[in-house]
Symmetry: C2
Subunit: 190 residues, 2 copies
């Protein structure tokens, strides 16, 4: 998606250690008008695919997922990172390591909101090492639901996540694929 590449080049901030900050339109300030263009693009890419539920993970995935969900007339279910007193015990759970935050989180999804018959599109902001996405796929499959595909905003194609998800037999569509960030310079896969 050319418009996303341009936006990343214009508004993204590259930091040492392979960190790309897109706080200006995704992870802190959300450019809702632009996310509607993202939604249209995912709808174009997954046109004709049966999808009745959008799954994502808190917190950054929620905004994108909600806007995208409008183009699929589907509700969003987001995996939660911590067990709160407000969620029932009847959940699917899986452990996920976070590269960004250097922690391991147990992510959970209530059995009430996902189950056999669900045709799921997973939406997330980043695909890097693939741990979060693998965790979400595991939750959906544990529920007996089907992952119809993954829609990712930014893929760091120089990390191992894409190959990991491909090896699980899941279709991945990433709207911007970063080939390299050497010397803090962004190079995209066209």
């Amino acid at each position: 998606m050319k418009a996303l590449q341009d936006k990343i080049l214009k508004e993204g901030i590259v930091k040492d250690g392979g960190v790309l900050k897109v706080d200006g339109f995704v992870n802190h300030r959300i450019d809702v008008a632009f996310m509607n263009e993202v939604g249209k693009e995912f709808k174009r890419l997954f046109d004709g695919v049966e999808i009745n539920k959008i799954v994502t993970i808190e917190a950054s995935g929620i905004g994108i997922a909600c806007i995208v969900a409008q183009y699929f007339n589907a509700p969003v279910v987001f995996a939660k990172k911590n067990k709160s007193i407000n969620i029932s015990g009847d959940v699917y759970s899986v452990d996920v390591a976070s590269f960004t935050h250097k922690t391991v989180n147990t992510i959970i999804m209530s059995k009430e909101y996902i189950g056999p018959g669900d045709k799921v599109l997973i939406i997330d902001d980043f695909l890097a090492k693939g741990n979060a996405l693998k965790g979400l796929i595991t939750l959906v499959r544990d529920a007996g639901a089907e992952v119809m595909g993954c829609g990712i905003l930014v893929e760091k194609s120089f990390q191992e996540g894409r190959a990991l998800i491909d090896s699980m037999g899941i279709r991945v569509e990433s709207l911007a694929r970063i080939k390299s960030m050497d010397n803090n310079e962004l190079v995209f896969i066209d």
Copy 2:
């Protein structure tokens, strides 16, 4: 908003200790179609008010805020609960006690995304003791921006939050106002 009262009565779960769970359409599964009705209602209520930014707090506020923001043609900025390595040091911050999670969080907002001249509508799911909302108002005011109003989905009017925010001179519009939850029975203010 009658449709919201009906939805809370139908899908909400009342638990002991004044806890109302709306995980089925707000806090875990998000009913995106219904949130569009919520967005239209906030637009009706705040019609004619100059608003150029929607502010909320992660995680549950983000989905509502993004859908609502479309009706104001405004971006969303969400306060973050923890300092991550991916956010710069140049932030406004305030401590907020969470009734639900029994913790104190420092919430932060980057100085890049809020400032003088901003006319802010704050959107959140619940108003109970008012701590989160007061924290958000403080962040916005610290930034030199103006709080034009607060749009709340569910107000527990039997708790002190509404009076607290009223005392700050801020307009609050709550789409469902719960008068009491005695014996786990919901009574709304009409």
